[in-house]
Symmetry: C2
Subunit: 319 residues, 2 copies
């Protein structure tokens, strides 16, 4: 028996979030062919333990194929050179040369970027922002992730910290934020904000939402709120109205600043579809300067779901 040629080299993207590491082999059409995951060792683990988890997840996903390149998308501030994670609230890196360390372990070229930037790049390259000159991508998860494409290029900014509009202040002396300040947009428009609104109302309600959580606000999940809203539950619908309203206000500020071709809304919350986007569009139209004298951009649902970071990270390795 003669040895045949080995498997073809693969491009892998890996998304490192606060709770899990998701790696995927991605083809040139942005399809995820194979995935593997690990738990993220957490903020108190060593950088080495976190890197071990990444290395294993990527090798698992590659399943023995040689690595053409690996794109790493990290939930943190990545320096402008794409070499280091300067700071990440849920990860242990504090300036280590992550890119070069991983390249050495994988023996493959590595690109490193912020997870929201990677998602924005996926949308721009193959998704809902294709063909735009300027695109704003708002990813609504626990908080808000942000990515900008300007002039057909990912806009990272001087220190790689562009797109942090989730921590723009929309309410003076508003709700306290994990970032240490108050009134940040993501305190009003995110999965957490939706739960806060729903929990505040569910105690006084006898609708489908209360039934789902047995009247216990602490037991509520985002999925319950979405399902109950779809069944017409008043409290759940109100929660989406409020959060969608804040989506529109925050997007209006970004549109006033950048006048983009497209605004893409992604992340877990966008699974609720029109429940979220319809009040968002109405609020955007109310809050946007000169709305009557311009084409108001639509709020376009993202083309990529939870794998946006993996796909974008892989696509970013193409240079």
């Amino acid at each position: 028996m003669s040895a045949g040629p080995g498997p073809a080299a693969v491009r892998v993207g890996v998304d490192v979030g606060g709770t899990k590491v998701l790696a995927g082999v991605v083809d040139d059409e942005g399809r995820v062919l194979r995935t593997a995951r690990r738990s993220t060792p957490g903020r108190l683990a060593t950088p080495e333990a976190t890197e071990d988890a990444l290395v294993e997840a990527v090798l698992d996903a590659a399943d023995g194929a040689p690595l053409l390149a690996v794109g790493v998308a990290a939930a943190g501030f990545v320096d402008a050179a794409g070499e280091r994670v300067a700071f990440a609230p849920h990860l242990p890196w504090r300036g280590e040369p992550v890119r070069d360390r991983l390249a050495e372990r994988w023996r493959a070229p590595v690109t490193l970027d912020n997870d929201a930037n990677a998602a924005a790049w996926a949308e721009y390259t193959l998704g809902a922002a294709r063909g735009a000159d300027t695109a704003v991508v708002v990813t609504l998860g626990t908080g808000i992730g942000g990515g900008l494409v300007v002039g057909g290029r990912l806009h990272r900014g001087r220190g790689g910290m562009a797109g942090e509009f989730g921590h723009g202040q929309l309410v003076p002396d508003g709700r306290p934020c994990e970032c240490g300040r108050r009134g940040c947009w993501e305190q009003y428009c995110s999965g957490n904000a939706l739960l806060r609104e729903a929990r505040a109302g569910v105690g006084t309600s006898a609708g489908p939402l209360a039934a789902r959580c047995d009247g216990d606000p602490a037991a509520l999940t985002g999925v319950m709120v979405t399902e109950a809203a779809a069944e017409g539950d008043e409290v759940a619908l109100h929660a989406f109205e409020v959060v969608g309203g804040w989506l529109g206000v925050g997007v209006a500020n970004l549109v006033a600043t950048l006048d983009p071709d497209v605004v893409v809304v992604g992340g877990g919350l966008v699974a609720a579809g029109e429940l979220l986007l319809a009040p968002g569009r109405a609020a955007l139209r109310r809050a946007l300067v000169a709305a009557a004298h311009r084409e108001v951009p639509d709020l376009t649902p993202a083309a990529f779901g939870p794998e946006a970071g993996v796909v974008g990270a892989a696509l970013l390795t193409r240079g």
Copy 2:
């Protein structure tokens, strides 16, 4: 006596504001060699009367020299193609093909842009934002004018409406704005905002500010507030603290979004210098996400004063 060669052709910039038209011959170093001005006929005049005022001011400034090119900076929304003023609150144009009409009258190539874009281009090309990849230029006059340079290019946006961050909402249900909405940044950070703060306090004060206006709040001007603050007047200093504080908050939101190399602050209000910029810097540092983990950009005073629009408009004709 034989006829010598005629005068050399000149490049002229003309800034069309709500009250005056200012034209200037500008050399390649951005120096204004000669100016001429007219009153703006006003919003209720015809477009033709406004164009007449422009044509005369430019010809006066040129003083018989042939026109190499004319750059027009208008206080209004200019379409992305640079052909029309789509809408301007203080000018009569509503979509007329201003660029081509003026080119015909001057028999010279004309470029048309927004006045704040022109000022930003002057700062980027020859002023305080020179060498930046990404620059935010905030012009504080009666309201806020905004200009963005991204990747070394003036960022105009899809419809030419980028940079309108002065109408971003910073205060829910806040002060009413001329734009028809509430809580816009310029209602808290502008010449008008400074006067509002000073007027609110001057009635209860016996300091230099009250002396300047004989205790009549309506008689106050921005110059009086600046002079009184420089003499230590408590009310005037407080007005700058408040307005500077809002400068910092609004800039923090722009920095969170764009992570620029430089933030330039221009316009009449910046004549107050550190009275405005010192509280602005302090507030920027308080309001900016991850300030401890990044280089916080300075608030840099503009290099060009009231002629920034004229200079930028002329420089934009160089293509």
